[in-house]
């Protein structure tokens, strides 16, 4: 098992290097420059723009800039933001808690809905419960988060005035009041994101369960007189979870990206909104760092998925 993990880790390194080269080249070739706003400012002479470009190394050839970036990265230096003139890692660390809190909660909410509903629906296919769950799931993933987000705001903030729609990292108060406020302001974004995720996941869990539930070994287990709950949980679910784990693991980085829209709507100062504002202001070091983090997440979650396969079905890690 440990050899298997090690092998997977070694494969990850060249993948990451390759990804970083591609990202860097794409960003270097992308249009726009970080000092674009200065171009329309009559007070900024062209010499200053040129001096800034030179100072931040924007005029060096791409390969030199890449090697410089890689070398700095290996030493733990993520570069600094042209726009904020502060270190990129500080910037990302500042944004991480909000992202983890909102996206983590949404993902947990999605799992808490999807697994029980999907499993139960699969045990009783085409029952009334199954049909209702299916309909809701279709509605759920057909509605984009920017639509449900605004709908929630209009209902719960504007009309009912129950929940705030501007997320703030700076809630006054301590103890229980602080906790309650943190929960209150996260309800809408978590619900929007969680329900969207839950919808597609429910469908997936259900079909994965159905694939397994009809296999001979399940019938055998039943014939041996095992209870329904035991058959479903121990025999069916364990095998059905392999494709589900793949889906969840591969969705995690995508969720970080997909949350960009939700973060914008509710003004959550997370990684997604950092990426958006950095792209808009052509702040390449930040864009590079954030996208690279996403790339690392993809690789990492693939690795986790592989390890989980090994645990769910030991035959996989032996190959």
């Amino acid at each position: 098992m440990s050899q298997y993990v090690l092998r997977r880790l070694l494969i990850a390194i060249p993948s990451l290097l390759g990804i970083s080269v591609v990202l860097f080249v794409v960003l270097a070739l992308a249009p726009g420059d970080p000092f674009s706003e200065l171009a329309t400012n009559p007070n900024v002479p062209p010499e200053v723009q040129a001096a800034l470009r030179a100072k931040f190394g924007l005029d060096d050839p791409i390969h030199l800039r890449y090697l410089h970036w890689l070398n700095a990265m290996l030493h733990g230096d993520w570069g600094f933001s042209f726009v904020s003139r502060m270190n990129v890692d500080t910037l990302i660390l500042q944004r991480l808690p909000a992202t983890l809190y909102v996206i983590g909660s949404a993902q947990i909410l999605a799992l808490l809905i999807a697994i029980p509903v999907g499993v139960y629906a699969a045990t009783k296919p085409y029952s009334l419960f199954d049909q209702i769950a299916n309909t809701l799931a279709f509605v759920g993933f057909s509605l984009p988060t920017f639509f449900t987000g605004i709908l929630f705001i209009l209902i719960f903030s504007v009309t009912l005035d129950w929940l705030p729609f501007v997320y703030t990292t700076d809630i006054k108060g301590t103890g229980i009041h602080w906790v309650l406020e943190m929960i209150r302001q996260a309800i809408m974004p978590v619900a929007v994101l969680g329900l969207f995720q839950a919808a597609s996941m429910t469908r997936f869990v259900r079909s994965a369960m159905l694939d397994v539930i009809r296999l001979d070994y399940v019938t055998t287990a039943r014939a041996k007189g095992l209870g329904q709950a035991k058959v479903i949980i121990k025999h069916v679910m364990r095998n059905a979870m392999i494709p589900v784990v793949t889906l969840i693991a591969l969705q995690m980085p995508a969720v970080f990206g997909g949350a960009i829209v939700t973060e914008q709507i509710f003004r959550i100062p997370g990684i997604g909104s950092l990426l958006i504002s950095s792209i808009l202001s052509n702040d390449t070091p930040v864009v590079m760092a954030v996208t690279f983090v996403f790339a690392c997440l993809v690789v990492l979650f693939n690795l986790i998925a592989d390890v989980l396969y090994g645990w769910l079905d030991p035959r996989i890690s032996l190959r």
Binding site: G32, D33, P42, N43, R85, M86, Q94, Q264, I265
Partner: protein, 596 residues
Amino acid sequence: MLDKELRSMIGEVKDGRMDRRAFITRMAAVGLTAPLANQILALGGVAMAEGASTYKPTKRGGGGALKLLWWQGPTLLNPHFATGTKDQDGSRLFYEPLACWDPDGNMKLVLATEIPSIQNGLLAADGKSVTWKLKPGVKWHDGKPFTADDIVFTWQYIKDPATAAVTIASYRDITVEKIDDLTVKITFPKPTPFWADAFVGAPNTILPKHLFADYTGSKSREAPTNLSPVGTGPYKFVEFKPGDLIRGVINPDYHMANRPYFDTIEMKGGGDAVSAARAVIQTGEYDFGWNIQVEDDVLLRLEKGGKGKTVYAVGGDTEFIALNFTDPNVEVDGERSSMKTKHPLFSDPVVRKALSLLVDRESVKKAIYGRAGRTTSNFLNGPEKFVSKNTSWEFNIEKAAKMLDDAGWKPGADGIREKDGKKLKILYQTSINGPRQKTQAIVKQACQKAGIEVELKSVVASVFFSSDVANPDTYPKFYADIEMFQIPLSQPDPSQHMRRYLSTSAATKENKWQGTNFPRWVNKDYDAAINAADMEMDPVKRAALYIKANDLMWEDTVFIPVQHRLKVEAAANNLRPVVSGWANETDNLFDWYREE
């Protein structure tokens, strides 16, 4: 035209035969606003009046929290590194200039005790120097005294090219010397009619020497104070998360009596303008929303029964369509829109004039800008003193068609006009932006009716407004026939703004398109007027020169002005914000309060 009358009036004020108020009222009657009337007086040898304050609270603090919403949050807190006004706005919460501009464009003192004038001897009659007296007893937030040394240092810091300060243009040619601890003298290399530039207004705030002295030049980025400012302002710095949040608390030692009103201040960033308007106007979650660029009917809907309202400030921003005087479709020496070419259609002035007749400013105002726009025929729309009364616009499709007919542009088989084998087909570009794209549609429709085919193009703003040499879609390259946007007028003086269009400043491949004259319009009379205005100390003659420059642009149809745009902000009903079209939103923050 007013020359003689004005002079005698200035004389009367000087001799005390007429009071200032009467002078300003009479100036208003002939279409000049108070701020400019004031500046006319100042340069005519009468001291400039200080902007009146509407501030009512009688004690410091007690106003609770002030919650500001900036849909583009500040990303750094050093005003001299600011990209965009958002960073100046954030820095201005803590740092202060010597003076700022009130809603009428009057000077308002902040760290100075007296407005320089020829009368009080602080302004040299030849316009080559100005002396500022500083308020005694002002302290930085860390308790160190504020003195003339800080001002001299700030000048040295900015003018060092290695610092790469974005404000360098206002400082590199001047000399700042310390007369004593509370007096500084600024010397200009030539007569400078607009002397209130350095150290005045939100972009020009003063930095503490004791905290920045070790971080000048190439070390400027490393200063910890870039992210945690120590200023002299009404609020002390507490916390900063770039793009997200700034927090401050009241400065109990603030140098203005009974100010500030609020105990804490919070500036939240991110999101978009519509939801910012909603959070302030409709739900009242925030007290003030910045730069609400939202269509007027949306705002009117939000305002119905809401907890807030919109607030407008008049400045000098003009939304315009610029015409390309060079040919964007022909390459000469590897350069499109080269100065060596002439635009195949626009070299006929009739085509340019006809195009101007086809822009329906009134419909654009009605359908798009509403209360935030005014129709205009001038490129230069403020300050009032510099606004031409000699121009007028008209929307008339028949007249345009007739003009083109008369000039030999006859409709071809496809209904598009042509002459000498050249078809009236125009590429019209702008940045991606709702109101701009709607304006494009309105103009295109009128042009079609007159037999001109218009192809619309919109470029993402971050590319359009960039100086990226490699990109063909930037506005300075201007690889289109016409293009639309606005260039903000950041000071209550047009000199910087109008210098952009000097013949020598054309954007070309040679200067990597850093030249500011993007229509590549060449006019000797314009150059002469602008260069003369730059040195002209007589305010009346100077205003006449800028009016002449504007009229030359109008005659040559270099720009088709579409709207004079106002600043739009959202504020809670009980908040009394002071917002100036000539300053940043936070420039007059010390005067904000809440009506109980």
